[in-house]
Symmetry: C2
């Protein structure tokens, strides 16, 4: 079969596999695959270096379908090129329990590099992947041994281009000169409300030029040679990320092609028939995969095996020449932490006498960890001096010569989160991010996706309460802890002092199957004397008894973070009044809930119903721990601008108040 004919057949195969699957599911987006199939085909057939039989090959090119609603395009590519995604699963597209969810889900199908659907996320994830690639390359490549050397490709849509997170990530990618990043922009001028001109008339090419990208096109996205040439041009510019502007038609070939009526619904039986006629697809039978097409697509298996084999030879040579580096690379890619890595945390704050904020303690801890865990890499959204997240023994991650650990995300919290997710999904560095807790609101979408994907990302949030003080209500988190605790599979840890901070970091790094939030104080806090109190390693269990006046406590006081000290002081006040209190530190609800009921009942004996919690935030959810007869001391409205201690007093977050409440609930009982 002549080459051009094979190409056309393969593209139709991809298109109608998507159309048939959407039709069969009575749900999904047929329009995007009809428009994107040619460019996706050229990329996957002629350029993408991947190994369908080993989707974990570390040096594979990464491919991100940022337009996740076009999921069937990706499922089609994966099935046709020989990934472990059976046709039966595609026939069960969007059905409960199938591998083929409505949007591509990381971990559900081998070859899906990241979960996409929420627009803009894939765009920014891919930036993170390119960063991880450069990080690994810089650390491990040696002259003659380009052991890490791959590109990151993405297909992005108008919707991605409109989202702010895309602008943030694109600007940073330009600053970092990520030359191996190549995006195909499916520029079809249609979104759900109709023609994009009603809301989106900007000159996208000029905008990306302004970010420092190479902008190629506009080209005809259906002209295979033009797409091919554009990709080659993109590859040739190693100094700038590239955006290929490919004009396409949404729902190409279908009766409603090029209209807003296409995006989100199956075509319908009659329209499917007409589309098949229009595009010269003779198979009425759904899910027909012509042998010639399948045969051609499946060449990817051998091609990929061959590419990977060559790489293995390269790696073997490297392993001989640089055995220590090769061993370290293996470990980095495995995600394992070195044995005994946490020895650096032992006794880190022994004998500490001066109060220290948990953000400062966090800095001490991070820098200790960096000695044994060199993959720890990240930065702040322009608040490093406040977040205290600089790794002092490391330089900056930047462009040209500066490829080290400290990243500068700029004032771009949303992209920071999404980029960290991309880094974690790529593998190699273990990413951390940092900003004020209040600005966790700017990055909830990537926090959620990290939790959904089960990625190990450490989200550091300092200035975690009204203790922020003078900056006032706009900068004082009130509902943020509650809102983060609501996210499934996200561990939120709010350590009470330096010693708990070390334990919190330990828990975060050892948590491989999901992200962790560390909520750290701006203000100084006493370092608890662990000789007099229980060991801070109780943090690993989420909550523990830190002190009690006697084993027969009448009342339980529960605190987190800076408010644990209020609870402890209240406990002593009660003791002076002849009331026996137990003080529980509960830095992480999620870690605590993961414990056995037996342990939880030891810490919070069901028989002791007089309980008071204290936390500088909304009390929502605390009912779980204080019960119907207890009370939660917290805030019911926004904060106030003033000196931190004044603000605490103003809102009644004091030992006196907590002791009073304890007496009240005891009385009530």
């Amino acid at each position: 079969m002549p080459e051009a004919k094979t190409d056309a057949l393969c593209i139709n195969t991809l298109r109608f596999l998507a159309v048939d699957a959407v039709e069969n599911a009575h749900s999904g987006h047929p329009g995007a695959p009809l428009g994107m199939a040619p460019m996706a085909y050229v990329l996957w057939d002629r350029h993408l270096r991947h190994s369908p039989q080993d989707p974990t090959w570390p040096n594979r090119d990464r491919f991100v379908l940022s337009a996740g609603h076009a999921s069937m395009l990706l499922y089609g590519l994966l099935h046709l090129t020989g990934y472990d995604l059976p046709l039966e699963q595609i026939q069960r597209f969007r059905q409960l329990g199938s591998m083929t969810a409505g949007h591509p889900e990381y971990g559900l199908v081998p070859g899906i590099e990241t979960t996409t659907g929420p627009l803009g996320q894939g765009f920014a994830n891919a930036v993170g992947m390119a960063i991880a690639e450069r990080w690994l390359a810089q650390h491990y490549n040696r002259p003659g041994h380009e052991i890490i050397d791959h590109r990151t490709y993405a297909i992005v849509s108008d919707g991605d281009m409109e989202e702010g997170v895309t602008s943030e990530a694109a600007s940073l990618a330009g600053t970092l000169k990520l030359g191996k990043l190549i995006y195909l922009y499916d520029d079809n001028n249609i979104s759900i409300e109709g023609d994009t001109s009603i809301a989106f008339t900007e000159d996208v090419g000029k905008r990306f030029d302004a970010y420092g990208w190479q902008v190629i096109g506009p080209i005809d996205g259906f002209d295979l040679e033009a797409v091919d040439k554009a990709i080659r041009e993109a590859q040739a510019d190693t100094d700038r990320p590239s955006l290929i502007m490919a004009k396409t038609v949404i729902g190409y070939g279908s009766p409603k092609a090029g209209t807003g009526a296409v995006p989100g619904e199956p075509l319908g039986e009659e329209a499917v028939k007409l589309t098949k006629q229009e595009l010269g697809w003779p198979y009425e039978e759904p899910f027909t995969l012509p042998d010639d097409a399948l045969g051609h697509f499946r060449q990817a298996v051998d091609r990929g095996r061959e590419q990977q084999q060559q790489w293995k030879i390269l790696l073997d040579t490297y392993r001989e020449a640089h055995p220590a580096e090769a061993k370290q690379l293996d470990m980095d890619l495995s995600g394992d932490l070195p044995a005994g890595w946490d020895s650096v945390l032992k006794g880190l704050f022994d004998g500490a006498e001066k109060p220290v904020s948990t953000r400062d303690a966090g800095n001490t801890v991070m820098n200790a960890i960096a000695i044994t865990v060199h993959v720890l890499t990240g930065g702040s959204a322009d608040l490093a001096p406040s977040n205290k997240t600089l790794l002092t023994t490391h330089g900056d991650f930047g462009f040209e010569d500066e490829i080290d650990h400290n990243m500068h995300f700029g004032i771009r919290e949303h992209a920071m989160g999404s980029i960290a997710n991309g880094m974690a999904a790529h593998g190699g560095p273990i990413p951390y991010t940092a900003t004020f807790l209040i600005f966790s609101d700017y990055m909830r979408p990537p926090i959620r996706l990290a939790a959904l994907m089960g990625l190990r990302v450490v989200f550091i949030f300092t200035h975690d309460s009204i203790g922020v003080g003078e900056d006032g209500p706009t900068h004082q988190p009130i509902e943020q802890l509650a809102a983060l605790r609501a996210v499934p599979n996200l561990a939120v840890i709010r350590p009470a002092d330096a010693t708990e901070t070390a334990e919190a970091w330990k828990a975060a790094l050892e948590r491989r199957d999901g992200p962790t939030v560390l909520a750290l104080s701006r203000q100084n806090l006493p370092v608890l004397d662990r000789n007099a109190l229980a060991s801070a390693d109780g943090v690993q269990r989420g909550g523990y008894v830190v002190w009690e006046a006697s084993p027969q406590a009448e009342v339980i006081l529960i605190g987190t973070g800076s408010e644990l000290h209020i609870a402890l002081d209240a406990g002593k006040l009660l003791q002076e009044s002849g009331i026996s209190a137990r003080v529980v530190s509960l830095p992480s609800w999620e870690l605590f809930e993961a414990q056995s009921a037996e342990y939880r009942n030891q810490v919070l004996p069901p028989g002791v119903t007089a309980r008071v919690s204290v936390e500088a935030g909304v009390t929502m959810g605390w009912e779980r721990y204080v019960g119907a007869l207890g009370t939660a001391v917290g805030l019911s409205g926004f904060g106030a601008s003033g000196k931190g201690p004044d603000v605490y007093k103003h809102f009644g977050l004091t030992p006196d108040r907590v002791a009073e409440e304890a007496k009240r609930v005891l009385h009530r009982k």
Copy 2:
């Protein structure tokens, strides 16, 4: 005094008022006012049309200090030009209980148009203000009667420019050709981590050119005539928003001028002395306001009174020529709703027999409301056909001839929220926004600020549960309701059927002191027969008894939204088993909590401790209503892709399960 000398004195007065206040507070940002003072002075002295003695003058120019950390610049301008902000309050800058919070707070000082601080928000708010201005002008201006005609100015910083929300808002402003929008960009190349080149090397001017803005400069931000000329150029282009790129030096005149060491800390006594020397300010005594400067600034009072007087004359002529329009304009600006406006909602769904989704019901309700409340104006982030938020009797809000009600925000959820806030702060239209509930995560910062400012914005979120179905976990909200309920002063209402949807809209519009979230279903739901069940007006109280098997209920089932139907079915199942249940609809926790304890105890009698709640989301917080002996049926992890009913069944959200749980808790009791 020669003019140039007066200008210089006034600028120094502004600068050192800020420096002294920060120093006095031992907290704040002196660097930004030192750099921004000249441009702010030129704008306020020569261009801004405002009336310090009447900050509510509807046709005043709006001024937004998007760089809210420079709050002292704004407080200085307000005090010096004669607003009701006494010097004593500036001397109590950032202290508890003062008017001068760390960041400018809407409502705390007359003349503050919006709360700023979280970067990017002010930028987007101002876009909303310019939209509101155009909306009012288009509705009310008549030939010869340009009754609404003002500009919106903002000072924005590097930090604003890096935030994604700014990109979104700027792109939309360009599309809408908001020619009366004029931004001064304080381009000082410094952010907290140091020189912006480490993270922000893009060509901002080119980027804004790509958005369709007029880009002026770069100019020297300290050259008063250059600033003046640039503002005139900006005013002259009425077709495009304008960005004036003004090069300045952060912390100008201070020893650390132009470095990252300046942004967030007082200068210190010694540096203050040196800065005063450097800039030729002879007053060591803090808070010195030279008479010449104060006298010059205070001319703003008479100038503003005169401008307002002229406008009043214009308005009087208009009132004579167009009395009906003038009366309507008064009402629009007052924020009052027409008497009896809600009569259109009476019986809207009487006799409805076919199930209808609450998003569809919402459309019916909105279109009914639009008959009496013509200020209802808004749109969706490109999901109007799915959100069902089009006002069918109205056209589009766009540029040129199309100035009507239906806005097209594009796929820009974050800017949509911030723009709506700006519209509400401006006054006139009552804004609503719409997207899927899952994407509330993209717009939490403006939702929070609407709540903090007490703005009437209606945030519509459809596709409010796993009932979304096939789109899968990325599109199924799980923790979003909980996360929204955590926000202080935000009313979250999740109506159970069409009749509750009408009541929810009524509550939202009548709530003048804060925003409301409406969570609406994608899937069809039975319209409850209010002859057999309690009236839906119980929604106004947040929660009510919708049905009970007998007045002596043994168990209480509580549901919200689509799950109320599950609770009702479970109630019937229990009745068949001889168990007497009460079913409570609890569409809004916030409205319910605002009721008297007496009412709440009527609905949820403390004596009935066997309680089951059912809601398709995380159960966090439900402990408050089900108590220690009850149980909450919900979700503990992310959703799944599949047909809606299959997904409900999969997660055990069924009448059978709820009935079972009820029996279990009864037993437990």
